[in-house]
């Protein structure tokens, strides 16, 4: 459902003098589970804060996001929550909002060199570091590793991979033998990559780092076919439902939960505060080109077999 903005009978109705806050959201895509949780977080909190949410999704196309943001601004939103398709290209979106007097909350992805009011993030680079750290520990600092990257040129893919490599650089005996990007983060392409690599290296592969859960599951499937599932350390990110199930089954080693619900909720609450002309709380600041941007960090968590049951909050069927 998309229209739970008119909850009759709630507190909003009793105070007709108070105008509803209009919050525009522009996300890159809705084609991954994580985004539905961000959306849900906002919807769950909308009524209580007398806010209306206009949600748009850019289909991973920069140009569509541009149109989305323009359309949102022309509808007179009070705050914009922006999840950029492309962090390098999103400064102009922030500028547009600024020109319209609309503050911007950057959700998960920080538009480069842009003056956003707040950056709420689960920090993709950190995700990459956590993945690699866990891998290095499991491998005892030694082995052949495959990195499965998402779409070439995608910011999240870039950051996670950078985080991976930053940590792996400290382990000279870990060798990245295959490092491939995958169009559309496609699970089957990732599976092909792993199959080919396993063949080429005679199964002499010890670890697989995947930029998201889907590709990690593609890897698991390829491993399964060779009877290697559970024997090669495999780690994803997003903690999708099937990934969590695979962790439980011992096929996937770990996955990073970016806690999308928390991320969505924190972004939303900050936006409400901005609409009320308050300054939302932040944990730190970061230098973003010419600007100093306040940052609110939401937790990320490594999910392994021992703590996978905590994911029941998100996946009740686990």
């Amino acid at each position: 459902g998309c229209g739970n903005t008119n909850n009759a009978g709630n507190s909003g109705d009793n105070q007709p003098e108070k105008k509803k806050i209009k919050i525009g959201v522009s996300v890159a895509t809705m084609q991954e589970a994580v985004y539905t949780f961000m959306k849900k977080a906002m919807e769950d909190n909308a009524a209580a804060n007398n806010a209306e949410i206009i949600w748009t999704s850019a289909d991973n196309k920069e140009e569509k996001q541009l149109s989305d943001v323009e359309s949102l601004l022309s509808q007179g939103i009070d705050v914009l929550i922006l999840h950029a398709v492309n962090t390098g290209a999103a400064a102009s979106l922030v500028a547009k909002a600024e020109a319209a007097g609309v503050p911007v909350v950057a959700m998960d992805r920080l538009p480069e060199n842009a003056k956003v009011a707040l950056y709420v993030t689960a920090d993709s680079r950190q995700v990459g570091r956590i993945q690699a750290q866990y891998l290095a520990e499991q491998l005892g600092g030694k082995g052949n590793v495959i990195i499965l990257e998402g779409e070439a040129g995608n910011g999240v893919a870039r950051d996670i991979t950078a985080g991976n490599k930053e940590v792996l650089a400290k382990y000279p005996d870990i060798k990245v033998v295959v490092d491939q990007a995958h169009k559309g983060w496609a699970r089957d392409l990732a599976m092909n990559t792993v199959e080919t690599a396993l063949t080429q290296y005679n199964n002499n592969i010890q670890g697989i780092l995947a930029n998201n859960s889907g590709m990690a599951m593609g890897a698991v499937q390829a491993l399964k076919n060779k009877g290697l599932a559970g024997k090669v350390v495999t780690i994803g990110s997003d903690a999708d439902e099937d990934a969590c199930k695979a962790i439980k089954a011992g096929e996937l080693s770990a996955d990073v939960d970016k806690k999308p619900y928390e991320l969505g909720k924190a972004s939303f609450l900050a936006a409400v505060e901005l609409a009320q002309k308050k300054t939302p709380a932040s944990d730190t600041t970061i230098k973003n080109g010419d600007f100093e941007v306040p940052v609110k960090l939401t937790p990320v968590e490594l999910i392994k077999k021992d703590n996978v049951d905590t994911m029941k909050y998100r996946w009740p069927n686990l």
């Binding site: 920069e62 359309s71 290209a89 102009s92 060199n113």
Partner: protein, 356 residues
């Protein structure tokens, strides 16, 4: 006559969609500000659709336009940021690059007799790769200030109104002189509508002006020049065209060069609008452009069609995106609705034509 008729059925479909959109959005759709938004949002796809019409008319196709846009954006931004080129020189170089890619396409299509599908699939892939390599996969920003301003510069509202009135008046005058009454009425209505939007806006954004010029040139070239006439002829019967003494290789090469130039222009508009060169931009843009052309009534087999229809086709697609955002329809449902409406629009159009 038939050509004309089609122009109007598809225009009526657009009009109907506009009216319905206005009703279901409680008027939000028809607000001048939103109409202007829509116009700006249509520009990139619209420019591509104009070029794509010239290609599809010959029975060809250009799958590379989306990637070329990305490459051009990356190059223009790189030139400015890394090599400190001025806005103008970087823009000119980028346009030249676009023309060069078109030349490459045209060369292989004519001299090696390769199918346009393959050649442009090749340039699609290569251009995307180059864009990614040059940019190392990240967006290149910031671009020059002047360059970024191009997309936001506006012709003052009053000047635009006067210009619109003059141009509309001239066309109307011609229509009346030639006793094209239907055209006359359409011209009058469109002119009045545009003036109304302009009067309620701050001005006319440069991208829209560029698009209007490109569309007008496209219409003019197809209707009034030898080049345009030859494109129809080629699409209708290659052999007869060759035997009529037309250098068909040169014709096709020019055709793809123009498409390359327009893809570059669209890429520049996009880069200026985003104030960045984005290597992943324009993904699947070719599909939207081709769809606009086909919705507009140009046949993929070549030989029949017109730029006017493609422009309307581009507006139909743009309107759909715009309205679905206003209605706040959930993304996944948007796909379903879009699919039905695109089919529906063309169906209405076809049914009307049958009756007419």
């Amino acid at each position: 006559m038939k050509k004309n008729l089609h122009k109007y059925t598809i225009l009526l479909v657009l009009l109907a969609m506009g009216i319905i959109s206005t009703v279901i959005t409680d008027g939000a759709f028809a607000r001048p500000e939103n109409i202007m938004n829509l116009a700006v949002q249509v520009v990139v796809n619209g420019i591509l659709a104009v070029g794509m019409t010239l290609i599809i008319l010959t029975g060809g196709i250009d799958l590379g336009v989306g990637s070329v846009m990305a490459l051009i954006g990356v190059v223009v931004a790189k030139l400015q940021l890394t090599y400190h080129f001025s806005t103008w020189s970087s823009v000119l170089i980028s346009l030249a690059l676009g023309l060069g890619i078109g030349l490459w396409n045209g060369f292989f299509i004519t001299k090696f007799k390769l199918p346009p599908f393959i050649v442009t699939l090749g340039s699609m892939t290569i251009a995307r790769g180059l864009a990614l390599v040059i940019s190392k996969g990240s967006a290149i920003a910031p671009v020059n200030n002047t360059f970024a301003m191009l997309a936001t510069w506006q012709l003052p509202s009053l000047v635009a109104v006067v210009l619109t009135a003059i141009i509309g008046g001239l066309i109307l005058f011609r229509n009346i002189r030639n006793k094209h009454w239907l055209d006359g009425i359409a011209t009058a209505l469109v002119t009045l509508f545009v003036i109304w939007v302009l009067l309620n806006s701050r001005g006319l954004p440069l991208p829209v002006i560029i698009f209007a010029i490109v569309a007008a040139l496209g219409i003019f070239v197809l209707k009034r020049t030898t080049f345009g006439r030859y494109l129809y002829a080629y699409g209708g019967n290659v052999q007869a065209t060759r035997l009529s003494g037309i250098n068909v290789d040169k014709l096709l090469i020019w055709d793809y060069v123009i498409m390359g130039g327009l893809a570059a222009l669209a890429g520049l508009v996009l880069a200026s609008r985003m104030a960045a060169g984005v290597p992943t931009a324009g993904n699947m843009a070719e599909l939207d452009a081709i769809a606009s052309v086909v919705i507009g009534g140009t046949s993929l087999a070549g030989g029949a069609g017109a730029v006017g229809g493609s422009v309307i086709g581009a507006f139909i697609i743009g309107l759909l995106n715009n309205v679905l955002v206003i209605l706040n329809v959930e993304a996944n449902y948007q796909y379903i609705i879009k699919g039905f409406i695109i089919m529906g629009a063309v169906m209405l159009d076809t049914l009307k034509q049958k009756r007419g």
